[in-house]
Amino acid sequence: MSSEPKQDTSASTALDRSDVRVKHQAGVGGAISAFFDRVRSGDLGSLPVIVGLVIIWSVFTALNPVFVSSSNLVNLLFDCSTVGVIALGIVCVLMVGEIDLSVGSISGFASAMVGTLWVNQGWPVALAIVAALAVGGFIGALYALLFNRLGMPSFVSTLAGLLAVLGLQLYILGSTGSINLPYGSNLVNFGQLLVMPDWLSYALAAVPGIVMLITGLRTVSRRRAVNLSAPSVGGLIVRVAALTILLELIVGYLNQARGIPWMFGLFVGLVVAMNYALTRTQWGRSMTAVGGNREAARRAGIKVRSIYLSAFVMCSMFAALGGVLSAARLASASQQAGTGDVNLNAIAAAVIGGTSLFGGRGSAYSALLGIIVIQSIASGLTLLDLSSSLRYMITGAVLAIAVIVDSLARRSRVSHGRA
């Protein structure tokens, strides 16, 4: 179709810089001033949530300095990982504009399955985990079936699932009620004790910067080669340096106490993998498209049903994995596992991190950020002696404050015409 390509841009201006109406900046200075432009226009990604987080942390630290002690932070990382993995699944379903209310029940059921199969039936632990994940995936497939074939709203089907799966959990725990997972077993150690060796954590903290640098440089050279504008190499290096220094400092601080939990490493690994899948693969593009405009995606030839299927299945499997991790963390599989506010916390984490409930907008990092906000509040409050009533009130207030910064930023984005 390119029989007559007419590039009315001269070779000197890049192909994508031909429009006179757009301001562009170049070089390191340009990158910095572009950043401030973005701050002013409110286009900030997750920065506002991070600012909210910093506020919360400062306040809690002022109230009780133990809060930022490295050992408390390590605890925080352990606690984040379990519900965080569930929130990651929630991001998947929210991306396509659906919801799963049953992640709590599924996580509880998965922990019960691991408990019974491994401890009571004597299966190898890996097999028990695989079985739990498979059953989780099956439940998700069931929701997808109800949604795709019968058009049942996911709110209703997963509400039914919430009850039915809770029933299953109670059923398989049966007479025992709760099952101890053996202390000293690998799974429980993974959930409670295992941390990365210092050298590894330092090395891993350098990886994001290195990857960013390499891909960044390659993109720059490829874009230059085809006459597209390219970000300044200076700006790239500044950003890489800032990121790497920040990460290494954090790791260094945490290594003063026990260090980075492997479980948190797993969680972050999953977040990074999901982020890659959502932003850099055809599947992720299709997820975003389906969430944004289902009919347009269908007309573009996307197999919309398989996308929903994958979203529901991934969500349930992440929920099951989260259940296994929390069983490991607690060293027990009990009837209470997954009940209470697990559902709400997982959904709230995704939403607080910036994933939209209405589909088509979100990122894997929102699960990470959101769960850190939620667990920071919980952890900060455990360090203060408060009555239950005050504790609830303050949790509510702090949650609102954490999100206000983000809301304000988004509002300014809207008023600048980029909603």
């Binding site: 025992t176 959930g191 004790l193 060293a331 009990s334 455990t382």
Partner: protein, 328 residues
């Protein structure tokens, strides 16, 4: 006149522990079968929802229940149920938790406040026996759900014991929904906060106790300070065998449930059941629960056939069982 074909309802409050379905109801049903083979027993559990309990209560009356054994979700709210039933000639037996503002026909129970006091007392004695200096630290108190009336009673009992024990309470927490992960998270925070000052933990049930133990384990604290529990779940008994938990409460629920069945049948046949005392204007019969520690586990649990050695002494616990003389 002896009853032959009445309907009796057994309404339990929640799922927070397995005892209602594993012990109370089977005990009640078995005794009913013995006393009145033709009677029908309806079992319902309200999942900690007072409105649902009201619904179940109404529903069993619709089904023709003539006597209702009620373990109220909310002792205060249950008063209206008692009034409603009695106005229709239906007998109500308060079970487990009392109904203070409207006298039921009978009250059969353990005493939740007593349970709280018993576990705390046992822990304090243990600490005193170990000669732990009250000045060297204090205790953590993990209560049940802030919206659960029974948890309030246990909390009251624990306070009545600890407040003049000499040991101070470092921090106290109402665990939302009795959720063990919440208890664990809170305990983890306190461990970073007080580190070695914690000499013991009074937890209101086995789940929250287990959460506290997991927190100590996760923080690498060894040995774990004594932690209490309540309900004598298998998991908790195993932890006691392994030496991770200090005590729990064994409630011979079957026996109490059987007593309730007895009372129900007597009330239905027009007799007046024998009362040991009167509580809240209600003729009452109270059972004392037993605190279980390593010392008396065999006597209280195995010998009383509440659990078998096979159930408890699976692989990792076999060694501990041997040490305690449960198996040989």
């Amino acid at each position: 006149a002896p009853v032959t074909d009445a309907t009796v309802a057994f309404l339990m409050p929640d799922q927070a522990s397995t005892r209602y379905e594993q012990h109370d109801y089977p005990g009640f049903a078995a005794e009913m079968k013995k006393l009145c083979p033709g009677c029908k027993v309806i079992y319902q559990n309200a999942d900690a929802d007072a409105s649902r309990q009201q619904q179940q209560f109404n529903s069993v009356i619709s089904q023709g229940a003539k006597a209702i054994v009620l373990d109220p979700v909310d002792s205060t709210a249950a008063a209206s149920l008692v009034k409603l039933a009695q106005s229709q000639g239906v007998k109500v037996i308060a079970y487990d938790r009392p109904i203070p503002t409207a006298p039921a026909d009978f009250y059969v129970s353990f005493n939740n406040e007593g349970i709280g006091k018993a576990i705390a007392d046992s822990l304090v004695e243990h600490l005193k026996a170990l000669k732990v200096d009250p000045a060297s630290g204090g205790l953590l108190q993990i209560n049940g759900s802030p919206t659960d009336a029974a948890a309030g009673l246990i909390k009251k009992g624990i306070h009545s014991s600890l407040d003049n024990s000499g040991y101070k309470i470092l921090a106290e927490f109402d665990t939302p929904e009795w959720a063990p992960p919440k208890a664990q998270q809170w305990a983890s925070g306190q461990i970073t906060r007080f580190s070695t000052q914690i000499v013991g933990v009074v937890a209101a049930n086995d789940g929250t106790g287990g959460g506290a133990i997991a927190a100590f384990k996760a923080a690498g604290v060894d040995p774990v300070p004594p932690v209490t529990g309540n309900d004598a779940t298998i998991a908790a008994l195993q932890l006691i065998i392994a030496g991770d938990q200090y005590n729990t409460i064994s409630k011979p629920s079957e026996i109490v449930a059987a007593a309730a069945a007895n009372v129900a049948v007597q009330l239905l046949s027009g007799e007046t059941p024998k009362a040991e005392m009167t509580l809240y204007d209600t003729p009452s019969q109270l059972f004392t629960p037993a605190v279980v520690t390593q010392e008396n586990l065999k006597a209280e649990i195995i010998d009383k056939k509440i659990n078998t050695a096979e159930e408890l002494c699976v692989d990792r616990y076999a060694e501990g069982c041997k040490k305690l003389g449960i198996t040989n």
